[in-house]
Amino acid sequence: MAISVARAREDSRGAPNLPDRKILLDLFERMVLLRRFESIAQIACRKGETPGFLHLYIGEEATGVGVCAHLRPTDWVTSTHRGHGHALAKGANPGRVMAELFGKADGICGGRGGTMHLYDRSVGLFGTNGIVAAGIGHAVGIGMGARQQGRDDIGVAFFGDGAANHGGFHEALNFAAVQRAPAVFVCENNLYATATPLSSVTLNPEIATKAASYGLPGVAVDGNDVFAVWLAMKEATERARAGKGPTLIEAKTYRTVGHHEGDPVIGTYRTQEELDAWIKRDPIDMFRKKLVEDYGIADAEALAAIESRIERVVEEALAFARNSPEPDPATVRLHVFADPINPPAALAWRAVGEMRTQGWLEAVRDGIAEEMRANPAILYFGEGTGERGGSFAHTKNLWQEFGAERMVDTPISEQGFTAAAVGASATGARTVSDLMFADFAFETAGQIFLQAAKLRYMTSGLMSAPMVVRVGAGALRSSGPHHSGIYHPVFAHMPGLIVCVPSTPADAKGLMKTALRAGDPVIMLEPKALFASKGEVPVGEHYVPFGVARIARAGTDITIVAAGQMVQRALEAAAALAAEGIEAEVIDPRTIMPLDIDTIVASVRKTHHLLIVDEAWAMCGLGGEIAQAINELAFDELDAPPGRLHTAPTSHPFAPVLERAMLVDTARIVQGVRDVISGKPPVPDHWYTVGLKSAAPAKPAPVPAKVAQAAPPAQALAAASDDEPITMPFGDLTVSEGTVVKWLKAVGDVVKEGELIAEIETDKAVVEIEAPISGTLSAIDQPVGAVVPMGGRIGGIKK
């Protein structure tokens, strides 16, 4: 047996300062696994077996393997679009990863995630990621969350050179450094961000040196030397676990394939010479040579045995993926929210006990403090919410009680600390990301919409990010264009986000407490205009469930739906209308998502008239949403068209007189109610078609009737013959066909597997067609000049 032969030589030739022989052989085996897996995936992609497109890790194996060799299953890595290698290096099952690439039910994310969204809780894989730099901050939060839970597990972020010019990188590194976060940042510098050379987009291409800006160590290593990566990561891991803070490792490496399958390997932005130079430095070949010749701990035979074992592993993975069933289409609606969406505490019956008159901010603050006392894993991230007690004094005394480790004062890095909040909340901690103003949420919109909201769905329910995004929202006394928005329809539009707009101190406290126990990300929009309000608040445990509206005033003649600060305006209007003999019912939905439409329907069944009053804008907004829901659910109950009143479709002006003109006030609600009851609801003009009407554009010229030629399915072209088909490979999403430009072989020629036999030109590049098997070219189905769809047959080879 080859291994025993090698072992026999271990003592005589093994270098004394090397790590255990098993570690080195494991590094080799892992790299081979990554390489062979990707090669098989590449073929499957070209055959069209994998939906979507793949970014392969070929050439970069040493980095992922060298880094992950130091990690436990309870450490987490965050990854990139080029992340299959990270998944496998971290220990994910090859068959289930392959099945995920195939979009199959047995994939690690049940087919919901796919190549760029591979998550596996069991091995600590926090997602390959379709968004550049998005995972860097997750690793920071993962480390901080583990530390808060008393573990020395760490978060490790993989990212490319492209991400080093992204705000997510800089915000995360700075935040991690100042927090001494147990994290390691691993930049895989493969010299190109897609097709853009690093040297053309920064004057400092030495990425490791960027660490100095944030006061953390940065080291550059040969990313193709697995042992060099292993050594650098060993030190970085020890530092992180020991609480000494994060390290930036720049691994200089190269992908020897295109950016994605279908992207040309060379030609448009890389040269053959450059590629050849890097292929000479292939990480597996270099390490094989070292193991045999320098370290002398294995011979070629032993390594070949490892390779053939891995060959079987990837073949089994491929067969597993092919045989796995498609996901059941009936399950498509599952895993958007926790089911049930409310935590048990919010649904438990409680006797109404002692009440206390409290201000809004004090009530919510008490709720947060109660939850933080109950759950030591709650972290609060915010700008000035620490010792200072918050810009609105909304976190007063929390820092004094819970300390700087939990009441984390953050830099003004909404993206950085919200990413950390996502990472921590998905790995056992809970977080509040306090963004101060709702407007600022857009600084970290990607983390909210693309990461937190989608996590449960992408993972088929195996993971979620139960974080609270807390912001002051809505207009208040000339706060101006950048500090006045409420935006709840924008958030409610995104599947996976819970959106709260409370209107009383009791509801604000109760919803916040529910949010801190919920299973999903919650957008807590607290109307600033109500911060100075007071109300009766239950003392102690008080939870308000999501999706349960409050009837703020009962009435019989019209239903007014209003949330947040509009509830008070609606109640004032209802009082005025009562004097006219109109009894309005005011419904406060409290949460915009989930929306308690049943309560609104029940009210309309009683009043037969509906007016929606909302602080957000009308376009694609709450008024249209609720009115149409009533059309669908209770059309026969309507005695008049529903009306809607929204804030005027402008930015928030500064001048008080303009701001008043923009907002919905009590008088407008009173008039709106009269209008709906008289059968003529107020007609908005937010469509902005008036200007178009006055300057009607010239009639557009008729579009020439170009017959769209749909590419025929690949199977249709496959001639029924017993030869091995030569096909136009699948590849780029944006390319559907190519033109045959050259046949390098003629019918009857003997060809070898892998030999170049034809060239096809697509809109993007020239694709070289290789012989799929060795044999004799038996047919040329598509002559030079023919246009061939992807996957289409162009010829055949007989064995």
Binding site: H608, F635, D636, E637, L638, D639, A640, S678, G679, K680
Partner: protein
């Protein structure tokens, strides 16, 4: 499309008013709308007082406008399959009357032809001697419960004539006749009259409909569906 129909000005009615009028079998043409552009509102329906019938000199134009627009359809329904099935069930100790089956079939048809009922759970009324019993949830109710409810209603003396229902069902005591005309009952958009032959092998059915509430196409489809349901009775027992 019929040009005459196309040229008729559309009657503006709020959805709620339309529903109230349908439940009361009030022809919308007889109502005056008080809403914008003459739209008929709920208040117009609820406040409607029928004009006293003129004793002399009937105004032909006015009465032709006010007269209910009635459509009537007749069908012979074969009962042999049902008779056999009922006999088979009875031999296993489960007795049902044709009244039960008729109610169940009518309920099912209301779900099948939603245009007639608008909502699936539109109740049905069974005419008994001088009174009506309204069944609210006929489509969902198991046949045994339906029968229990019906027998209980027979035993008491309540009258549901004031409760809303889409149609009333009348099982005529006379056999071997073919009903040709029967008036609608107040508040009912349709009335189904059924006469069973002495031999028990077929029934003659008449469906009268108020076209202000249920158009003739829908009413005809409704009767056809009922015939099909009774002639293939197995579906009604599952």
């Amino acid at each position: 499309m019929n040009m005459a129909v196309a040229q008729t000005p559309r009657l503006a009615v709020s959805p709620y008013a339309r529903r109230l009028a349908r439940e009361r079998a009030l022809p919308l043409e007889t109502l005056r709308g008080s809403g914008p552009g003459g739209r008929i509102l709920a208040a117009d329906v609820l406040g409607f007082v029928p004009a006293a019938a003129p004793v002399n000199l009937p105004d032909i134009v006015a009465s032709s406008v006010a007269a209910p627009r009635i459509a009537a359809f007749a069908a012979s329904v074969a009962l042999t399959a049902l008779r056999d099935l009922l006999a088979a069930l009875e031999s296993t100790g489960r007795a049902f009357d044709i009244d039960d089956v008729l109610l169940r079939a009518a309920g099912r048809v209301c779900v099948e032809i939603p245009d007639a009922a608008k909502v699936g759970d539109m109740p049905l009324a069974l005419e008994l001697a001088g009174r009506q019993v309204v069944f609210a949830t006929v489509p969902e109710m198991p046949l045994t419960s339906l029968r229990t409810t019906r027998l209980a209603a027979l035993a008491d003396s309540r009258d549901d004539a004031e409760m809303p229902a889409l149609l009333s069902i009348r099982l005529l005591p006379a056999s071997d006749i073919r009903p040709l005309m029967l008036p609608l009952l107040p508040g009912r958009a349709m009335r189904l009259a059924v006469s069973i032959s002495t031999a028990g092998d077929h029934a003659e059915c008449l469906l009268t409909a108020d076209t202000a509430s249920v158009d003739e196409i829908t009413a005809a489809a409704w009767l056809a569906a009922l015939k099909s349901a009774i002639e293939h009775p197995l579906r009604l027992f599952v």
